[in-house]
Subunit: 398 residues, 2 copies
């Protein structure tokens, strides 16, 4: 249902767009040459079209070469993925009036954004990553945007800690096991809300580091990215970071919304989603090279291979780089500010390349000894790809 | 000379500008109402006009209310201060071809930006601050832009560590005491280069943390901010971070350029600059409140007072906030990612405000026990203002 709706939204937009046109709409999402020709959707008109890949009206990816080496992903290149269309821009006309209902606490209450700003303030650097990032490397043509590496970014959010809000309302009620949050999207009439609403449950303890955030990278959260208010759950895949959040409830059970019950479930190819399968919560250990970005012709000699490493689990301990497609590895150096365990770390390794073709990739190692795997885990929706082999880039040395 | 040239550049630009007009040009630099009406100069057309104050063609300040709470200052609101006009934009058309001469090392050499990229890579978060930030609080009408708090920003730079370049060229020659760097600006014919060139010397040991940087906040350094290549000297005032750097030389003596010899020297009001006076190197301990930004009318009750604290010396240990103009103080909490000792730290304190007027300010305390002072040190050019009294903001609670 979710994917069908996305297709419909995207098709309408493509048919209406002046460039790209109907042919692209019929062809679907993922051809790079078509994708790069697509215009930015209106809600994301502020993006830098020269440094992103537009997959659809609700799917925009950062180009691998655009990440740079400063550590933070600018909002104007940050990936965009909306499960359903953003609400009307009227909701960001008076941001402080936005309301969020807090339930499952001793004193349930509806608070405005202005109220939240009086309760507390904090900030976190964290990787925001779509569950399907890397889908474009799978062979079975899973539905959804065919992301390569760029449905991820390292972002700064600020707002009020959820734990401060909860404390102000007397604490979480006894027996609650989940933090269940609801997005403020609206749906066309005749659609069953359960099937399309963005309502996600995460373990309640995630509230300890979660924010109700009104600022992204120094500016009020843009509508496209969930403004005026977005729930931020560091270390969790993007879908759990509910946009336009209108309710945060501590609940005994997971929500029965389709997006939780059968959506975002990891299962074998060909199987339907169900609640017994793992859901997309914590991000796994991952790294990829951002420079060279692939396809370049380089001079022989020293090259600084750089990239990013991140995880929603045990912190990054080290990164290794290979220039021979994984036959041999050398240690990389982590560099730049350490923005905290939910942010990505930048790495660099000096390699020396002779004439010929080189396949360059990286693998991250966590403090608990986990090593980023070589291969993807095949799964129906092509989620959670962290295999280093597919993420390699090819360069030619003249 | 420097100031005179700035006035001339600014006057020409103001006369040519379609908005603002000749009247503003005659009036000089600092009237806030006129300043806000001035258009952005062409070299800084990418700035967000709604969140900066344009003092002149070479002086743009971030509005206090624009800093936000995410920790990094976006390039589109970052202050701008050019001693002389930027070189022609042709120099950023082929960035990798930019050349920098390295002298005072065992093997002096001219390197291109492409060469530098092969030598090493690192990144630093640091406060970039104009020596004259806070000049607008002085009473004696010192020449130069009348900055309040916004000639400072917290920025991410990446490039090659100067120490890596030096190591590649055999190390610093024996007996060198300074790192002397020269900007690539060009001057109108008939002007003595010594009098206008941007050439600054800093203690040679500063090279240990300095970068030759080609990236600012994730993008190639804009021309206005010194692209294609800028020397970054963390902890030092802005002027030492030489733009369009074309030469880095390790030298026995400080440069005899006017900007070093008599410019940027701290002296009593009415005295001329000379080399016996302190030069603007390390930044002093400073903090200021960024929210409330001043002038607001607030509801009675709790308010989250937030701001930033930074230093070029002993690291920040704590920050205190006062809501009664400095009669009493309470501890603030440092929050958000710790970006390293040269970055600013964000602080927040929850205060409770009753009806009436409140004068809100902050003071930083360093690890070595230094406390940000109450008062400015009067000096001819109005440099280095870190007094907490002048930096206070006034709010009214209805």
């Amino acid at each position: 249902m979710k994917e069908a709706l996305e297709v419909n939204v995207a098709r309408r937009w493509l048919l209406a767009a002046s460039a790209g046109g109907a042919a692209a709409g019929l062809g679907g999402f993922s051809s790079p040459s078509l994708a790069q020709a697509r215009p930015l959707p209106p809600v994301a008109s502020f993006k830098d079209a020269s440094r992103v890949i537009v997959h659809s009206a609700s799917g925009i990816e950062t180009q691998r070469s655009a990440f740079g080496t400063s550590g933070i992903t600018d909002t104007d290149i940050l990936f965009l993925r909306n499960n359903i269309a953003a609400p009307d821009a009227a909701i960001v006309a008076n941001r402080d009036a936005w309301q969020v209902q807090i339930d499952g606490v001793t004193q349930p209450r509806t608070l405005t954004l202005a109220d939240l700003k009086r309760i507390g303030l904090s900030s976190v650097a964290m990787v925001l990553q779509c569950s399907g990032n890397g889908r474009g490397f799978f062979a079975h043509k899973a539905s959804g945007s065919q992301w390569k590496v760029g449905a991820a970014g390292n972002t700064l959010w600020s707002g009020v800690p959820v734990r401060d809000v909860v404390a102000a309302l007397g604490g979480v009620r006894e027996g609650m096991r989940y933090m269940t949050s609801t997005g403020g999207e609206t749906f066309p009439p005749g659609i069953d809300p359960q099937k399309v609403m963005v309502e996600r449950s995460v373990p309640w303890i995630a509230m300890e580091e979660a924010l109700l955030a009104w600022e992204l990278n120094g500016e009020p959260v843009p509508l496209a990215h969930g403004g005026p208010l977005r729930l931020i759950v560091p270390g969790y895949y993007g879908v759990n970071n509910v946009k336009y959040v209108k309710r945060v409830a501590f609940t005994v059970d997971e929500t029965s919304a389709t997006i939780q019950k059968s959506g975002y479930r990891v299962r074998d190819i060909g199987r339907k989603g169900d609640p017994t399968q793992p859901t997309m919560w914590h991000m796994n250990l991952k790294s990829f090279v951002t420079g060279p970005a692939g396809g370049e012709t380089l001079r022989a000699g020293p090259v600084q291979v750089h990239g990013v490493a991140f995880t929603g689990g045990s912190p990054i301990k080290a990164v290794e780089v290979s220039v021979d497609g994984g036959k041999s590895w050398q240690a990389a150096t982590l560099f730049g500010p350490h923005l905290g365990r939910y942010a990505w770390r930048q790495f660099v390794a000096q390699v020396t390349l002779g004439a010929g073709q080189h396949l360059i990739t990286s693998r991250a190692i966590a403090v608990d000894g986990t090593v980023q795997p070589e291969l993807r885990v095949e799964n129906e929706r092509a989620y959670a790809h962290n295999g280093w082999r597919d993420h390699a880039v090819a360069v030619t040395v003249a």
